[in-house]
């Protein structure tokens, strides 16, 4: 096929446009990584861009030696694991039941869940509720309030709905109860969706900070996102690590970068593998009934 000059010009423009999108998106990440390996003097004079200047891993050593950082990091792992497990149990059982098209009252149950997507109690009633349930300063305040994501629920529901019914019927004839069908037939065949949901919940929990910020007051309970938030907000300028350095304010940018890199490291490591699951998950979620 012959291409007109206009088409060629457009293709060139398109290429430049998309390359600049790539550059602009990636730049802050590369910049943070470069800063994390740079000396503070170079960062403060605004000279670190994509290449580390004054190569320095001392800050990594400081942060990795900081017990607060490690305990907060451990909290993040704990909260992520527990919250994801709770979410998976609630989401799977709920989705499985409402995926049964002849379940009586099904539309009511779906409606009850979907309505919460568009209307919620708001910050204050939630805050008062969690406080009066005595969940403040406990792990429950972090792992329970957002246990079901209706979006994930709907994805799982549509996955279960698309399972061949004959399979479940055959299992039922063979004498399996509805529990048996779920645990011995449906779930083993749903590894793809279960993995996707675990990823969705795990990433969301790893990244979350606000519930912890709202309901946790004891520093030993903080997840690492709060450690980072306090650093950014200047509440604790450089964690306990900064205490060993003369000028706490000076080291801030470098310490921040190191903490950011360490916090996103697990996500960056799984990202290339996880990405396609997220994509297909969103695809499923977009399928309208």
């Amino acid at each position: 096929m012959k291409e007109s000059t206009g088409m060629k010009a457009f293709r060139a423009f398109n290429l430049v446009f998309l390359l600049s999108v790539v550059f602009i998106t990636a730049y802050p990440f590369l910049n943070i990584i470069a800063q994390s390996f740079s000396s503070e003097g170079f960062i403060n004079s605004g000279r670190v861009n994509l290449v580390p200047l004054g190569f320095n891993v001392e800050t990594y050593r400081l942060i990795l030696a900081d017990s607060t950082f490690w305990s907060n990091y451990g909290n993040t792992v704990l909260y992520t694991v527990v919250a994801t497990a709770i979410s998976m149990v609630l989401t799977t059982t709920f989705a499985y039941a409402i995926a049964k098209k002849d379940l009586k009252g099904r539309s009511v149950f779906i409606g009850l869940a979907v309505f919460t997507m568009f209307f919620n109690g708001g910050l204050i009633p939630n805050y008062v509720l969690i406080s009066s349930l005595g969940m403040r300063d406990t792990i429950w305040a972090v792992v329970l309030p957002n246990a079901i994501s209706v979006f994930n629920l709907l994805i799982m529901k549509s996955f279960f709905e698309n399972m061949p019914r004959e399979l479940e019927e055959a299992a039922a004839i063979d004498g399996l109860t509805q529990y048996g069908v779920l645990f011995r037939v449906v779930l083993p065949l749903s590894k793809a969706i279960v993995a996707t949901m675990v990823l969705f919940y795990a990433v969301a929990n790893w990244n979350s900070w606000f519930t912890a910020f709202l309901y946790l007051d004891k520093p030993e309970l903080f997840p690492v996102t709060i450690y980072l938030r306090n650093m950014i907000a200047g509440v604790t300028t450089a964690g306990s690590a900064g205490g060993t350095v003369e000028n706490v304010g000076q080291i801030a940018a470098n310490i921040q970068s190191v903490t950011i890199v360490l916090t996103v490291l697990p996500i960056l490591c799984v990202y290339p593998f996880v990405q396609k699951y997220f994509f297909s998950g969103v695809m499923l979620g977009s399928v309208k009934e």
């Binding site: 999108v21 019927e169 950011i260």
Partner: protein
């Protein structure tokens, strides 16, 4: 127990050839039968429904504290009725109206800039012939979506700081630096540009998916009729992805009032409250930091009611005009 072998309840009367005399009776026996047949499924629903009741619906009811006096440590529904006291209070509160105005401005700007960008991005990506390059661009563009908002906030503050990248560019171009993070005039550009950066790649996913479903033969027919690429885009591609655009537009309008609460809370400061303080951050300060729970609940209820009204009306309008809606 056999799972799907029993006669479905609605088929039973017909089979017997006798209609039950009252509708109410039919429902009642229907429920009995359903519970006998599916009680295991209903037990699976118990925990999730309990969760929804406690963590979703109880807080909705808890909004009555907007009309009642709440005492710290007291019932989540408040102690005694005070009527519209707190509503009147926020209607006469200039700080609230400033936050309200900022919410509207940021909401409109977000809709103007963050909504069309993923569409443009998806269309541009779709023009690529190299699948490898397309994958690469997408992989990088999604990245910000997977990051915690705390990390995004850290990056924003570093890049817009006095020695940050944006100021390096500004110094190179204009020979001067701007204190972006402390200047109320710069909050909106800073917020919106970071929002576009954060959401563009991920937002394009659904459009890309619907683009792959466009019928190729339509383009061929259009080419034979002599349509150029722009005309093809305008008359075939855009109409084909219109349902997706409308659906996402309705959802965006529904979240209009909840503009980037967590992000703003992390990057704003008292120096730029004049433009950065939105309803949700204001009610956070009033409610959580100053413990005026009833007052903040009144503001929060106002916010969510507007959100609900917006999404209901957007849905109704688009159902009539565009034939596409969420429900």
């Amino acid at each position: 127990m056999a799972l799907r072998l029993e006669v479905p309840p609605e088929a039973q009367p017909a089979m017997k050839g006798v209609k039950p005399p009252k509708k109410a009776m039919k429902t009642k026996t229907g429920w009995k039968l359903a519970i006998r047949r599916d009680w295991r499924l209903y037990t699976l629903l118990v925990l999730p429904l309990l969760y929804l009741a406690i963590f979703r619906y109880l807080p909705m009811l808890g909004n009555v504290i907007a009309f009642r006096q709440f005492q710290p440590g007291g019932s989540i529904f408040g102690q005694k009725w005070v009527g519209l006291k707190y509503v009147v209070l926020f209607i006469n509160d200039p700080s609230f109206w400033q936050a309200f105005q900022n919410t509207i401005v940021l909401g409109v700007l977000t809709l103007l800039f963050c909504f069309p960008m993923p569409i443009i991005f998806a269309l541009m990506l779709n023009e690529l012939r190299s699948q490898k390059f397309k994958k690469f661009v997408q992989t990088v563009a999604y990245l910000p979506h997977f990051m915690s908002v705390v990390i995004i906030a850290g990056m924003i503050l570093q890049n817009f700081s006095l020695t940050g990248t944006v100021n390096q560019i500004s110094e190179g171009l204009f020979g001067s630096t701007v204190n972006f993070t402390q200047d109320a005039n710069w909050f909106r550009p800073m917020y919106i540009s970071s929002e576009v950066w954060q959401t563009m790649g991920w937002g394009a996913i659904l459009y890309l998916a619907s683009l792959t479903r466009v019928d190729e033969s339509l383009y061929e027919a259009a080419r034979i009729d002599g349509a150029n690429r722009w005309q093809q885009t305008w008359h075939i591609t855009l109409p084909a992805i219109r349902p997706t655009i409308v659906t996402l537009l309705i959802l965006n309008i529904g979240t209009f009032m909840a503009v980037g609460f967590e992000k703003i809370l992390l990057i704003y400061n008292p120096l730029n409250y004049a433009t950065s303080d939105v309803i949700s951050t204001y009610l956070y300060r009033v409610g959580v930091e100053s413990s005026n729970f009833s007052y903040a609940a009144a503001i929060g209820m106002f916010e969510s009611v507007i959100g609900l009204v917006l999404i209901l009306s957007a849905n109704a309008i688009f159902r009539r005009t565009a034939g596409t809606s969420l429900w």
